[in-house]
């Protein structure tokens, strides 16, 4: 039986919208269900995998860096890539190259590749379904 393949198109930059965490939860759940997943990161979402992100302390919470344990979306990207690898699931995370260039976020976590709308079109044609999560 052919494996279910989901493609997600993400647009929100990190730390700006509840849609980001929702997207990662969907990706995580899809991998755990045994679905292959394609992610096309467009516009600000290309920064989700930016390797230069860093957690920080939180004086309002009274916590240092370790105590605050602040998540980074790049760490979440690493987590879902590792989850897919452990389960022999294909997770193909593509950043739109021109979006990367204009935002200067070309240092992406290992396992994320640079691509173009041609990759998105290829994903669409080989997926069971495609979900667009637009930005506002």
């Amino acid at each position: 039986m052919p494996r279910t393949v989901l493609t997600l198109v993400l647009n929100d930059p990190p730390y700006e919208s509840a849609r980001t965490a929702t997207a990662f939860r969907i990706i995580d759940a899809a991998i755990r269900r045994g679905y292959d997943v394609n992610v096309f990161a467009y516009e600000g979402a290309v920064a989700l995998a930016f390797a230069c992100q860093a957690p920080h302390a939180n004086a309002v919470h009274g916590r240092d860096v370790a105590g605050e344990d602040h998540p980074t979306t790049s760490a979440w990207v690493r987590e879902v890539l590792e989850l897919a690898r452990e389960r022999s699931i294909k997770l193909d995370w593509v950043n739109c190259g021109l979006c990367v260039d204009e935002r200067g976020v070309d240092d992406a976590v290992r396992g994320v590749r640079r691509g173009s709308p041609a990759d998105l079109w290829s994903f669409v044609n080989t997926s069971t379904n495609t979900l667009v999560i637009p930005t506002r």
Binding site: V9, Y42, E43, S116, P117, A118, L120, W121, V124, T130, V132, P134, T135, R136
Partner: protein, 124 residues
């Protein structure tokens, strides 16, 4: 594929285009069959004669302002059908004589029939 756009002028000055119109062109150039439906504020995209020239930030002057209506017309020239929701045009006072030639006016009641004609519907 039907692309439904609902938000107008999001980042269009700094992108010098609309990101979703640009993506539509790129997908079309890669062989996708795409039609577009404009709803809500995005119905403004089918208005003729828009001219966002003259943006200046400090000493920087924009030399390539976005030409949204041109991009919409260019998609039509690539055999993309363009629709705009009639009620959203009317509430904004946009009449047919203000609109690019070739744009289809779709009433809300006609949407189910329109949507049934597509296997992929992406709303932005």
């Amino acid at each position: 594929m039907l692309q439904i756009l609902t938000v107008a002028y999001r980042a269009t000055l700094e992108e010098q285009d609309d990101p979703i119109l640009w993506l539509s062109h790129s997908l079309r150039n890669n062989g996708a069959h795409i039609d577009l439906l404009f709803r809500s504020s995005a119905v403004s995209y089918v208005v003729r004669g828009q001219s966002p020239i003259g943006l200046r930030i400090g000493e920087w002057v924009q030399s390539q302002p976005p030409d949204i209506a041109y991009e919409v017309a260019a998609l039509m020239s690539k055999d993309c059908r363009i629709f705009a929701l009639a009620e959203d045009l009317a509430v904004r006072g946009i009449r047919r004589e203000h609109v690019l030639g070739g744009v289809g006016f779709i009433a809300r009641a006609e949407l189910p029939a329109l949507l049934r004609g597509y296997t992929n519907i992406w709303q932005w």
